[in-house]
Amino acid sequence: MGGKGARLYWRVQWRRNDGLGALFLVLVLFAILYAILFPGIFAIGAASKFVQGWFPTAMVAAAQTIVMLTGGIDLSVGPMVSLGSVVAASTMEGPLGIFGGVLAMLALGGGVGAIVGAFVAIGRYPAIIVTLALSFVLRGVALLIMPRPGGFVPRSLSDFLAGVHPTAAVLLVLLVIVWKLYQATPLGVGLIAVGDNAEGAYRSGVNVTTARMCAYIASGILQGFTGLYMAAKTGSGDPLIGEPMTLAAISAAVLGGVGFLGGQGTMRGALAGSLLMSIMISVMFFLHLPLVAQYIMQGLIIVVTVALPLIRASMRRGT
């Protein structure tokens, strides 16, 4: 990249932070509060543990963001994570082994993503109702495979993913790098273009169907992997473990400024949103607040971070 191109790139990237100021400010405030309440966070072990707590939310937030950027929405995130955890916990002790189990997981996630993609991208059905129906299907399959929590995940995998090593942090960095690389490909550019203006993207030569399809497959793989991670973290599979994650994923993405109409928002925003939610829960724990108070905080923070820029904008217009 030449000098001028690089400058332009960074300027564009900087402008994409617009509207995220409030979120970053709240995030920093909570991070400071957290560091005061729990100074031990700066040790590598404690930091790894913290990232491990954040990791699943970050992953599903990323998965949701990819879909929302195309103008869709995924209401089956939670059941997909549950299904992933159940499948992971029931395949790894078989002949497939850890490697085969991980591959099976990723194939499952991609496969389910492809099914959603087929309905939404090729069939042109509204994503909200397709994924709503699919959430019933996935929940049913997870319950059929494993009616109650059980199964088994090899100790070595649990240690690797959720032990004392900062594996989760490395995986998050990898996620961001892969996302940046994907954004540099025509398909990655098409992803946001399709969400912003599908007709315009089509006329400009973007393969709308492929761009959407790839988004749903990528999202499904991330969700499947989150299921695997949850299984590794808890050491077993649970057909209902993902239930709260549908809402958490949407909340994190929305907190991070990802719009419902598509083409609007950034991955960094969504990750920051998920981090804020994660820190918030920890802070409330240290403040001895009842855990349910986190819901109230989460709702209020969503409204405030989204409403503040809107109020400011309308005041500037003088209406």
Partner: protein, 316 residues
């Protein structure tokens, strides 16, 4: 006359499809399953559908207006818990408590409407945040215990029959008639369609978007409150989570009934069929004695299978 009929069929073809499916399902199931087609059982199905149908009133209006209300399940739970709490001695008929809890439901809807209409928050975000906040408040206030209710009016709502039609079904019919008249027979109802079709053009044409949005979400809160009362009269007690299944089923009923999730198109007529369709499918799955996993799987597949019939999103 045929022209009017033709116009009606074209305008409501999607809604009519849902009625057709319900009719086919009922006929086939009545022939195959003994005891399905008898009047009390079919009436029971419609009674259950009334709860979804009442939530669906507000949901349909919100969706037609280009929005969505994700806080309906929380509002149902709020009314089901607030009513037993505000019951007082001197209020022997229980009407005072009912009015109070409906007022709370409408107030929640008003907050949604203010946030969406006046602050400009996206409906999904505002109602999702409202649902999250209410969920936290409810657990804090009510905890995990169920609260029993003794309310004379509610009890009679659950047990009275007029000409063998249950009072709950009559309540649904009345609300449905008002909703249909408002949406299709009045100026402000027509403007809801206009806002859903193109908010910018509506605004420039002088449509009072803010006031109508406020009204939409107040209606949605009120209808969810009514559904909560009906649910309470059937259950006898309220608990945290009582309303949870009704969020997804209200959206499913709206979409199965042929209302476009993108706004601007549809009718409550279809939602009625969608609600009955959902309950019928659940009843059929229960009849074949499936486990919870199979029930969920079959219901999901059925909704997916109905998608081609309920119309698709034409825009690229």
């Amino acid at each position: 006359m045929t022209a009017v009929l033709q116009r009606f069929v074209i305008a409501y073809s999607r809604s009519l499809v849902a009625y057709g499916i319900v009719a086919v399902l009922w006929i086939v199931a009545s022939l195959l399953i003994t005891g399905f087609g008898v009047y009390p059982h079919l009436r029971y199905i419609v009674e259950l559908a009334a709860v979804i149908g009442l939530v669906g009133v507000g949901q349909t209006i919100a969706v037609i207006g280009g929005g969505i209300d994700l806080s309906v399940s929380a509002v149902i739970t709020v009314t089901a818990l607030v009513l037993p709490m505000v019951s007082f001695e001197s209020d022997s008929s229980g009407l005072g408590a009912i009015a109070l809890s409906l007022l709370v439901a409408a107030a929640i809807g008003a907050v949604n409407g203010l946030g969406i209409g006046y602050l400009g928050l996206p409906p999904l975000i505002m109602t999702l945040a409202m649902a999250t906040i209410l969920q936290g408040l409810l657990v804090l206030i009510a905890g995990g215990s169920a609260i029993s209710v003794s309310n004379a009016t509610l009890e009679s709502l659950g047990s009275t029959h007029v000409l063998t039609i249950s009072a709950s079904i009559l309540l649904w019919l009345v609300v449905a008639a008002i909703c249909l008249f408002w949406l299709h027979g009045t100026r402000s109802g027509a403007l809801i369609f206009a806002i859903g079709t193109n908010p910018m053009v509506s605004k420039l044409s002088g449509v009072p978007i803010r006031r109508l949005t406020l009204a939409t979400y107040i209606i949605s809160g009120l209808c969810a409150g009514l559904a909560g009362l009906l649910l309470l009269s059937m259950n006898g007690q309220g608990y945290v989570g009582i309303g949870d299944p009704y969020l997804l089923s209200s959206i499913a009923a709206v979409v199965l009934g042929g209302t476009s999730i993108l706004g601007g198109r549809g009718s409550y007529l279809g939602t009625i069929a969608g609600a009955v369709l959902l309950v019928t499918m659940t009843a059929l799955i229960t009849v074949i004695n499936a486990s919870e996993g199979w029930r969920s799987l079959i219901l999901g597949c059925l909704i997916l299978g109905m998608l081609p019939l309920s119309g698709r999103d034409q825009s690229r």
